[in-house]
Amino acid sequence: MAIAVAKHPVTNRRRRTRRLPYLLIAPAALLMLAFIAYPMISVLYYSLQDYNVTKPWRNGFAGMSNFTRIFTGDPRFWHSLDFSVRWVVVEIALQLVIGLALALLVNQTFVGRGLSRALVFSPWAVSGVLTTTIWMLLYNPSTGMSRYLADAGIGSYGHSVLSDPHTVFWAAVLAELWRGVPFFAILLLADLQSIPGELYEAASVDGASRLRQLFHITLPHLKDAIVLSTLLRAVWEFNNVDLLYTLTGGGPAGQTTTLPLYVANTGLDGHDFGYASALTTVAFVILLFFSVLYLRLSKFGGDRT
């Protein structure tokens, strides 16, 4: 009996110790269940339903018909997917190259470096809608650049780069570049500053040129930062809604409609939440597949032990 009494406090303490980690992660787990798992399951559920709030008599289980419609009878899906891919590839490539160039530049020591860094990073602090407003004013044919160019005899009055099918893509790309480049510049600059200076000194002593140092010291060191930043940015750009929605509304004639914008139009304007959920599910699978493939191909984190 005396032995049993002596054992109890130890057992309780162990039990408490075992429970503590679960209690500590419980708030985070609950939040993730509420804000990530529930919406995911909800969307998956509705993707298998006919669910249009304005036609309740049609609502009900739809099986795979929403998915069949996506892949066999919806040219807008393929068009928006095609545009999304082009948008992501062009944006990420340009943002990475320009962001890297700027990061290398402001990593040098020169007079006014602090101001230069502030200027490079400042667009990142501007909200998406404000960014769009700035660019809409610039592109406005009555008050923007084209009017002043027309006043100077270059181009014609009333021309808008956002209305011209030949220029709208690059006009939108430019606006998004302005906002996206600082993200790469900040991230890469932070990683650049962790490269030991001795490596460059040794390389210089060995006669390596600046270009050779870039390819053999800088870029290998930045590899993980580049992989992570391009992946994150690619997902964000794929899901980009705010800039294109406010700048072009997906037009003209649907030319700048990304897949998420198409989802938003189908769900919010068309009230067809079942079909919009199916589109979202397809987008999710595409992003998941791309992300896993990208991480495997790039061997992210492969140099760490």
């Binding site: 969307v43 008599w57 808008s160 011209d164 037009g251 003209p252 939440f273 999710f284 998941l288």
Partner: protein
Amino acid sequence: MPRPQHRPRTARPAAGVALAAALALTATACGDSGSGKSGGEGSGKGKIVFWDNNGGVRTDAWKQIIAAFEKKYPDIQVEYVGIPIADVQKKYDTAIAGGGLPDVGGVGTAYLANMVAQNALEPLSDRIGKSGLKGRLVTGMVTGVQAAGGRGKEMYELPTSANQGTLWYRTDLFGAAGLQPPTTWSAFYQAASTLTDASKNKFGFTIRGGKGSIAQALEMMYAQSGIDDFWNGDKTTVNDPRNVAALEKYVGLYKKSTPEADLNNDFVNMVAEFDHGDVGMLQHNLGSYNDHVKAFGKDKVDGIPLPPSQDGGVRTIVSNPVDGLGLFKSGKNKAAAWKFIEFAASEPMNSLWSQAAGAVPANTGAEQEQWINDARPTKAAMESLNDPKTKIVQFPYYLPDWNTITKADTEPDFQKVLLGKMTAKDFADELAGKLNDAQADFAGHAK
């Protein structure tokens, strides 16, 4: 035993990526439906929430009405929430699905059927019948609201005003060019051409190519063609050859007599472009009257109803959405909410509001106000409505698909027509096909 320091390398980032990508899935997550929840009459006192469906433009007028109401009923407080007109339907849909509907809301007939289908609004015919508003509402607006609700004679909004398509033109520019007012279609197209000098940034007309383009294009088509019914049996007349010919003429103005930037024009941009001073004519409803007067003064701008299809012939105008106030089923203080609706629709308040909005008042008593005689475009619109030669083409606002078809589905196609990537006939045929399907679906359900 030492614990492993790292999990397999790909698992962690892949899980992170999966979570990041999963955020995309939240976009269309739907909550529990809040539609059909019945509130209660309440005590007739306390706070009620009112959503203005065109917040910003008419906020001042509503603030005056609310102040007068609270003075008359000190036991009731009205919380005003201004919703931008472009977002109002989404706001209502979100609130119906997830809760948070107001007690009273501004509701237009363009989306009334959607809200009735979702069982969000209280039927109002009985309340109107027992109120001082009985027999004091313009008959055309009452029938418009009844038709848009799609439930027989029942009314799901109390009409407060109606609008009408108007051809706005700069009298000073017309005078300087020696042009007559565009009271005929030939005069309209002639003026659009004459007033255009792209090299000097002068354009005869501004077209609506962006959001809201379809209703406006349909208005121009029916006004020119003279077809006075939207349906021929169970098929729409949208793709009637006369309408297709009218559409071809209308879209032919793009870039010839309009700025190229019009392709993306919503009503805000279109009105701003006209008010900027470089454009001679604009087709928009009466609601922009005050903007034009503010920009040019009363002497340099005028508005007339769209011309009749033929000189001296029948004038066909489309049924513009009737604006009104809806009482929400979920409200817990419907007695107080109804008092507010009744007060806002009373003669002096309806007159005050309609003058600020530049609209035709629904209260018959307000029709005699002096400001209507002073506002030429509003008076002309009312005269044309009462003209026996005027035929009204009723848009099928009762179709739950109406807004979807005429916005999300068709606006990009209209831009294709403007860009020459789609013919007017293909556009009209495609639109007609969707409308016929929606009508058949609705008729099948109604049975």
